[in-house]
């Protein structure tokens, strides 16, 4: 009996010790394929900047939730006055920047004026174009007076480009970001990793993680090896979809498939000789087998789309029926437009796999209906210069990753060269509209219009393929904006 008690007590002791030893981890290492060039989201367009700082280091007046909804952040509440032309924000009291400076209405005025000012280098300056004046009412109240009523304002203010900086530290944000978020910047070993640590003075709910490390691994094989060897705990945007089935089968990892804001499209130059004829554009749309592109280029990850709109958005309508895969119909339309096996189009492909792999597949599908393509692989800088600015292209493949960006079709001289006064009128009315129901109707009209005009070939919504240690909880499943929000992340024991 004595021996029995000894055994029992030692077993109990062991269990106690082992649970103590396996207490939940409080640090995490995330893998990212690209390193941010700097850490100032108000001074560059690189997605990797927001993937480190958004919601972790920096906050704006509003912020995106994991479902894409717009929620209060530094502004706790707001009133809309004067028929939607004046927004009065109540700011959270007692918020401090990481350097100890207090957050006040002056910081809001400074940040927004900086973003929309003449010397601004904000990549999304257009978001602020409608703001006429930023008015400080008192320390914790600020009003935005607008030129026109603006139904997008709260949404626009949630972007990473609209975060609030402290005047004292704003100029150093590129290398030494000081924000109000739940994490503080700690260390950056360029080319290798960025470390952030918990901000114990955070105004909101305290976060579970004490430390997070972002590690930059661009090579897909190396990413796989780093996961397998336990060097990284999670890869929120895993760069090698071909390994996903293998990771899915491994109990140490969980694979999370979500959606992004990336509409991947075969962009067409609507003013190039052949493509200015809508019949040719429609023929191209019917020549494409989307599922074959998704399977071949993305290993099956991606949702087919029929317009420039994200399927997870509440106002989405399925328009894939406008461009069913029908090579016979495509041939007939080309014939009608006067092209019988004698159409050659340029196809310029930027570096991402969706474009390079997708481009080869689309080229062969187009050949089936009698269109020859001249494929040219270009780097991003070249793409911007030749395609985006110079409009020197017929076809290209790009994923447009900004949220709710159908408004680009109304932009003057945009690289699609789509020119439709009805559509432009619709978008300008939408921008002013604040009633949710009417906004919904307008979004549906806009989707239908670009789909029925066959402005571009609509391929698929880019999937977010995340891989994480199966004990990690709280990472975003979808990607309503480019972010790795760590506020809700914790390890289970």
């Amino acid at each position: 009996m004595k021996r029995f008690i000894q055994v029992i007590s030692s077993v109990l002791l062991m269990t106690f010790l082992s649970t103590a030893a396996f207490a939940a981890k409080t640090d995490i290492t995330l893998g990212m394929a690209l390193e941010p060039p700097n850490l100032d989201p108000t001074g560059g367009a690189a997605a990797a900047i927001d993937e480190v700082v958004y919601a972790n280091i920096f906050e704006g007046l509003t912020r995106f939730g994991s479902d894409g909804s717009v929620n209060p952040a530094l502004a706790s509440a707001w009133d809309i006055e004067n028929d939607g032309t004046r927004y009065v924000f109540n700011l959270r009291p007692g918020v401090k920047f990481h350097d100890g400076a207090e957050f006040t209405a002056e910081d809001v005025k400074f940040s927004l004026d900086r973003a929309r000012g003449e010397d601004s280098t904000n990549a999304q300056k257009a978001l602020f174009a409608n703001i006429a004046e930023v008015e400080v009412i008192d320390d914790h109240t600020v009003a935005l007076n607008l030129t026109n009523a603006d139904g997008n304002l709260l949404f626009n203010l949630a972007w990473g480009d609209a975060i609030i900086l402290d005047p004292a530290s704003a100029d150093k944000a590129a290398t030494d970001p000081v924000g109000t978020g739940p994490f503080k910047f700690s260390n950056w070993v360029q080319g290798d990793r960025i470390e952030i640590v918990r901000n114990d003075d955070y105004w909101g709910e305290s976060v579970a993680l004490e430390k997070a490390t972002f590690k930059f691994i661009s090579d897909p094989t190396a990413a796989f090896a780093a996961l397998m060897a336990g060097d990284v705990d999670a890869f929120p945007n895993y760069p090698a979809p071909e390994n996903l089935p293998q990771l899915e089968a491994d109990p140490r990892f969980s694979v999370v498939l979500g959606s992004t804001e990336g509409e991947t499209i075969l962009s067409m130059n609507n003013k190039s000789e052949a493509l200015s004829d809508m019949r040719v554009r429609e023929a191209i749309s019917h020549a494409i087998d989307r599922q074959a592109v998704i399977d071949g280029a993305m290993f099956g990850y991606g949702t087919p789309i029929g317009s420039h709109f994200a399927p997870h958005h509440p106002s989405y309508i399925d328009l894939t029926g406008n461009a069913t895969f029908d090579p016979e119909a495509a041939r007939a339309m080309l014939k009608e437009a006067g092209y019988i096996d004698d159409l050659t189009l340029s196809l310029k492909l930027p570096p991402p796999a969706y474009a390079r792999r997708g481009g080869e597949i689309i080229a062969s599908q187009l050949r089936e209906v009698g269109i020859d393509t001249e494929i040219e692989n270009v780097e991003w800088a070249q793409w911007l210069e030749q395609v985006f600015k110079g409009k020197d292209y017929d076809l290209t493949i790009v994923s447009h990753t900004e949220p709710l960006d159908i408004g680009i079709y109304a932009r003057d001289d945009y690289y699609f060269q789509y020119d439709n006064d009805d559509f432009n009128g619709l978008i300008s009315a939408f921008n002013k509209e604040t009633d949710p129901e009417r906004r919904d109707v307008m979004l549906k009209q806009a989707q239908t219009m670009v789909s029925e005009d066959y402005v571009n070939g609509y391929l698929f919504q880019l999937a977010k393929t995340g891989v994480a240690n199966s004990k990690i909880n709280g990472l975003w499943e979808n990607q309503p904006t480019q972010a790795n929000d760590l506020t809700g992340v914790y390890w289970s024991e």
């Binding site: 060039p37 700097n38 999304q124 257009a126 290398t175 290798d192 800088a381 210069e385």
Partner: protein
């Protein structure tokens, strides 16, 4: 000797001037504007222009070339467009990885190659020679990134003795740093060691056929004594040339291995900067690499003179 020295210095300077013009011109000709790359698809023209002015990109090309070269002469390599940090600082940081890695790999290569080469040469035609030559043939043929992946698969994933990559920094401790560089250094060293061993062997065999080696043997030295005392030093010239080339290659050309092991080295910096059109970084780093290669060649030339006194006199 002095004339030889100055002649070398002269050709070194000329190479650097020509290189700076070529590098600048080539990189400027390639299309793509850094400011619009950084600001992405939604930026308006006035935003791009504001950024260009901030970065000094609104000046003419000649002006920028003069500024760049003038700055370099004073030790100022400019400020990276995208990282917004001085290029010199970034390069210095990357060199703390690339230089030790190149040194580590080259030391391993030499440590492997010398015994193998000497052994094979002294047993020419024997079984040992055949085996060593077979292995080195394989070492030359295997691509180093493929070998690197095997190392990762075995030592990082299967046995978990090493990390799959990354570099914790020298702050974490000397041995921790060396451990992180071990797999990449081995992957880099294997092909270099194979090349070096083959060169050493064939160079030794050439020398062993020389009259003075026969004379040495005739005066009663053993084969081994003749090899060590007379042949080795004379066989060193081609070997030194290869070592010099290998060091330059390892410093700049480790880029694929740096990618496989995600190391923050110079190669990756250049690669990233090219993609991001960070012209000033690309230009300055390539210029530094040219400088390093030219310097290594210069030192190798001096080393020739050291091992072969005839070189000092005849030039």
């Amino acid at each position: 000797m002095l004339f030889y020295f100055f002649k070398r210095i002269g050709s070194l300077l000329a190479t650097l001037v020509v290189a700076s013009v070529v590098i600048f011109t080539v990189i400027e000709i390639v299309p793509g504007d850094p400011a619009s790359y950084m600001l992405g698809l939604n930026a308006s023209d006035d935003t791009v222009n504001a950024l260009k002015a901030e970065l000094g990109l609104d000046q003419g090309r000649v002006m920028r070339y003069v500024d760049w070269v003038g700055g370099m002469l004073q030790g100022d390599f400019g400020t990276s467009y995208t990282y917004r940090t001085p290029v010199a600082e970034m390069v210095a940081e990357r060199l703390t990885v690339s230089l030790p890695l190149a040194g580590y790999a080259l030391s391993l290569a030499i440590l492997l190659a010398f015994p193998a080469g000497l052994f094979a040469a002294s047993r020419r035609g024997g079984a040992a020679d055949t085996v060593i030559m077979g292995i080195t043939q394989l070492g030359v043929a295997i691509p180093n990134f493929w070998f690197a992946m095997w190392l990762v698969l075995l030592f990082a994933i299967k046995w978990q003795w090493f990390s799959a990559g990354g570099f914790p920094g020298w702050d974490a401790g000397f041995w921790v740093g060396m451990k992180a560089l071990s797999l990449p250094a081995i992957a880099l060293a294997l092909p270099q060691a194979s090349i070096l061993a083959r060169v050493l062997r064939s160079s030794l065999l050439d020398v062993l056929n020389e009259d003075y080696v026969r004379t040495a043997r005739a005066k009663g030295l053993t084969r081994r004594q003749a090899l060590w005392g007379h042949a080795l030093r004379n066989a060193m010239i081609p070997v030194l040339t290869i070592i010099g080339l290998q060091f330059s290659f390892l410093l700049a050309g480790a880029i694929i291995i740096e990618n496989v092991f995600f190391l923050p080295g110079l190669g990756r910096l250049v690669f990233q900067s090219i993609a991001q059109r960070d012209l000033i970084v690309v230009e300055s780093v390539i210029m530094l690499l040219v400088f390093a290669v030219v310097m290594v060649t210069f030192l190798v030339d001096l080393a020739y003179a050291w091992v072969d006194p005839r070189m000092r006199r005849s030039h």
